[in-house]
């Protein structure tokens, strides 16, 4: 039963290759995994909703901005923490910014790591801060690579003629 249903669907839906179906499914699975693992949160969905014909590359643009911004911030943080007399105010300001931008694209793990960082910062605990910085860097690299893979998958789907599904359901 299942096989025949799938087959029918393929026939009626895709006149091209069944490979598109597979790609879309892979994309969906990959995306779900990101949410399930807590790497991305609902804010990312918000970004997706904002993307439409007038803003076709919105998500990619914002995310790229986030990457460049964050890399710079992380470098600044490393430098500031390596100083003789650490200026905690500056450090805090940087982390605040990083937290803001990561939360606005939905990079949940990065955001959480920032929160922890700020606590150490308030306590003026340098080793704690350094450890946290490492953590943030790790999480950032993780989300960066995941998102880059996600974008690649999306590009493949689009190139094969499919569309990236958006969310639109009435919910009671």
């Amino acid at each position: 039963m299942r096989a025949s249903l799938e087959g029918e669907k393929q026939q009626t839906d895709q006149s091209m290759d069944g490979g598109l179906m597979q790609m879309q499914r892979r994309l969906a699975e990959y995306r779900n995994a990101l949410f399930k693992e807590g790497i991305l949160d609902s804010q990312y969905l918000q970004l997706q909703e904002l993307q439409d014909e007038s803003n076709p590359d919105f998500v990619v643009e914002v995310v790229s901005l986030f990457f460049t911004d964050s890399e710079k911030l992380l470098n600044d943080l490393s430098r500031d923490l390596a100083q003789q007399n650490v200026d905690f105010k500056r450090v805090d300001a940087h982390v605040h910014q990083l937290k803001g931008s990561s939360s606005s694209i939905g990079a949940e793990k990065v955001k959480n790591a920032c929160i922890v960082f700020r606590n150490f910062c308030q306590e003026k605990n340098i080793p704690g801060c350094l450890r946290c910085l490492q953590q943030i860097k790790q999480e950032f690299l993780l989300v960066k690579s995941k998102l880059e893979t996600l974008f690649k998958l999306e590009q493949q789907v689009v190139a094969a003629g499919g569309s990236i599904p958006t969310v639109q359901q009435p919910i009671l």
């Binding site: 249903l5 609902s42 901005l65 300001a93 359901q169």
Partner: protein, 759 residues
Amino acid sequence: MLVFNSHGSTRLLLLLMISVAVGVIAICSLVFLIVRTRVREMHLRAALIKQMEATRQAESKSMSKSNAFAQASHDVRASLAGIMGLVDISYDEVSPGSELEKNLKQIEACAKDLMGFLNCILDTSKVEAGKMPLEEEEFDLAQLLEDVVDLYHPVAMRKGVDVILDPNDGTVLKHSLVKGDRGKLKKILSNLLSNAVKFTDDGHISVRAWVQKPSLENTILATRGNSSWKRMMCLLREKNDKDGGDEAVNDFRQNPNSAEFVFEVDDTGKGIPKEMRKSVFENYIQVKETARGQEGTGLGLGIVQSLVRLMGGDIQIRDKDMGERGTCFRFNVFLAPWDAVATKPLEEDPEAGGYGAARHLGLTIRATSPGLSFHSSSTRQVRSPRPEGSPVVLLIQNEERRRTCQSYMEKLGIEVLVVSQWQDLPIILKKIQMKVVNVAYHSSSGKSDRSWRIERLSTSASLSKSCSRVKGVSLGSLDGADHTLPVYKSPSHKDQSGFVLLIIDASAGPFQEIFMAVAEFRKLLPSTQCKVVWLDKPTMRSIDQRAINGKLDPDDIIMSKPFHGTRLLQVIRLLPEFGGLLQKRPSRQLRERAVLNAEATEPLAEETGNTHREKPLNGKRALVVDDSEIMRKLSLCNLSNLGATAQLCENGKEAVQLIREGIDEQRERGVSDIHRPYDYILMDCQMPTMDGYEATRKIRKEEKRYGIHTPIIALTAHSSGAEVKKIFEAGMDFHIEKPVNGVRLMKAISEIQSRGGGV
């Protein structure tokens, strides 16, 4: 002669003496008996007096104890409130996620528990002291039931227990507007439900209610107003009512206007052993618990009993059928209907179906409906159903919920096809497909080729033929209320719409498979003839939007709240027989419908117009002030999606400059009536050079000179009490949490508009 005489006189004398003696003895014994009884009586009386004295003393001692306790508890309450308030304030000072915050949370939880215990004890003593007056307010009983059930649903679902509102026979829906003490009734139900949730680890908890026909005992009491008779009946009945309760009980039962409502809370949990049944209602007794850490001071049921008795009823534990586990609490209360017009005393109703209650509540019944008897016969007849109504396919995981939905719908005359396992869904859908196609092409019903006897299918036919003519009862004053029973219009042969309603539990099986089966089915039916309602769980969403490539039909409905009560009625109303043809898609802002955003819900039937075509902020100009480029971009996108244009700047200084320039430009043009250069300002609080607070203060100064006021919305990372204060002191109008999204923006803007924002 003398001899004879002496013989005779002696005999006489003897006789006399004997009789006298006997008489004396008799009198003596009588006197003796009388004296003895008298003495005994006096002893008894003395004992009685002593006993009454003792009782009175005990009562007054207990009364004064209760009073003293009530007094003292006010102090305890005050201190507790103090603790909770201080904890609240401390939250602001603490850094989120820290150990300290966790400790604070626990302190708060403990304080809340203490408050709960205290209230429990207080209530008991209040009831005992007779100080618990019954309030009277008008409320909707069906809505109350639904609210309480929905309240406990999430916490029970977390344990894997479903909480179901069983519509039963629908009598509560008919007489749902009542007068009585809503708060106490809610407390009773909450208490019972929380116990049920506590002691049930799997299965379900059902809550059901119905209106009871008046019983003989009550009518006797009602008609005989004689006080001595009352007293005798009281003595005979051996109730240990509290004094206040006694009068209340009689008041209620004599009131011809009130009806008896029976409630049941039925769970599949641990159960209560027979020996403990009486004692659970006594305060401070608790059924011994497993080591799972289920606590309970055992105070809940005592209060429940007192409250129920106060409302004129009683509570008991019902026996369950053989092999069924768990506990079933049943209690009844007396409530007066809202629009009590009838003054007729309660009378036995010869008709089946409890319409006596309806009648004396002054309601009119449009048609005789024997189909709605209280307890449906459990005989299931599998026969070929008439193609009269639109069939409903029910695929619900939880057995009990399935049963209650099915039986309720069948009582309304709807043909229900139950799918017990998700694998059977395609089979059933195919059968319906054939039937619908048949109906569409033949005017007469073709029953021949449909054999509904498949083992795994449990098709249940509607009740007797009179079911097709079931009409609902509507209370006159109920315009717009959701609790009238839908009115069933039997479809004539001509307008056989061939409509099919699918109600599918998204977690009943692998969603993809189910969805595909449904999609297949739909392809062969025009969209107006089929509607799908997906039941989803809010906590664990089974509907994977992305997995199905978002191909859910836009007219489908996804319901994440439990499927009972008003939502059940709404879905029933989708059927053409109940008035729901071609419902317009509930239109809302496309942006507002974030899947994981559990915000406002709107009733199905509301037609709000196609708001997602118009943009709410069309033509508005906004100024975005934020140092982060990402934020600016985000805000810009959000605003333009809502139809507004946006000017971006990086810090407070630039913002103030832009405002000044906006004003200056108007002055140069010679505009006499200066208006604000921007309709809204989105101001980030934390920025270098000049932060949001400073900028706002400066802007307000400028604006004052021209009598304008631009609504300023603050963007904060998290809104603590202190920060909110700062925001309002600086002169900003509203605040939203970062990151910005369409929903929050619109909420803020509509809030500002409703306040009459700005010149």
